[in-house]
Amino acid sequence: MKLRRTRLYVPGNNPHLVENVGLYGADCLILDLEDSVPLEQKFDARILVKYALQNVDFGRSEKWVRINSPDTPFWKADLEEVLPYVDVVNVPKVESYEDVEKISGIMDEIEEKHGVEKRKIVPIIETLKGLTNAREIAKHPRVVAMAWGGEDLTAELGIPKKKALILDHVRAEIVIAAKSQGKMALDTVYSNIRDEEGLFEYARRARYMGFDGVGVLHPNQVEVVHRAFRPEEKDIEEAKKIVEAAEKAMKEGKGVIALNGRMIDKPVLERARKILAFAEVD
């Protein structure tokens, strides 16, 4: 199972920060072409990111690029430059299924031209319109996970982000939209990079909300989040037993899985496999 507990944002215009990204152990690395790149550096940055994707050792991390949003003149050029070398395209300010379809259409053309496999999309829901359409957006076949951001949303509502009670509802909606389509749900970043304890609590809360990961802004945050997402030992032991029982039943050709006289049904087995994945047990 692919883990996306952490996705580390790295500014796409800063070669010094990009060159060591593989050492940080994040599940996903996002070379950013959007907010961290000033307008006058967009052109240089997308070329730099193209070279980075081909030359930097990303270790075991999935390679993501956050392109510019579909309402800017930059997103197509971003895709043309970097798409053949990425695993996942992270698209900000997605507001509708049609937005994803528009981007997916251009991706089709580039993939065909370069003879590469279909790349994945992770949309970022950042507006009320996007939130309203989140369940539709999650249905797109390229979408593997849903992420969200609160700045624009709270600005639209005219409330300070730190006090916005509505964000718990937004979080729940993102989880429901993603999970109802069998996709991952990814929580937004915890911006205080010095507050390790706060981050741990934040990531734990995200996990129990149903999220599969959170965004991180600093390499030091990676280990903390992975720790927060690690299941408890007793759950890991139980999950091991369930998976072993399932494998034994399969070997013996039995259709029913039983453990200590208890029937194990499919959702329980799925959850056990997920626990082992999060515990990084093969």
């Binding site: 800063n14 070669p15 010094h16 052109f43 240089d44 070329i47 081909q54």
Partner: protein, 81 residues
């Protein structure tokens, strides 16, 4: 005149200026160690550029130098940004 890159640590600034003749100037903190390698990369990537190419290196890796040279060449050729 076009520029690509920055003068931040680990980066390189590449400038190409209109000129009747081809000229390459390399300035690097690590010129004694890497000056030749940088020059080789610049020569290789800019063979058909007639102009003054000025490279100010801040300790960039080879892929960074290549990325910045490509950006500068494409701007020099008038590619829309």
């Amino acid at each position: 005149m076009v520029k690509a890159g920055t003068l931040e640590k680990g980066d390189v600034m590449v400038t190409i200026e209109e000129s009747g003749e081809r000229e390459i100037i390399i300035k690097s903190k690590l010129e004694r160690l890497y000056g030749e390698a940088i020059r080789k990369t610049v020569e290789e990537m800019t063979t058909d550029i007639v102009g003054k190419i000025y490279v100010e290196d801040m300790g960039a890796l080879d892929w960074v130098i290549r990325a910045r040279i490509e950006a500068a060449i494409r701007k020099f050729r008038g590619e829309e940004q």
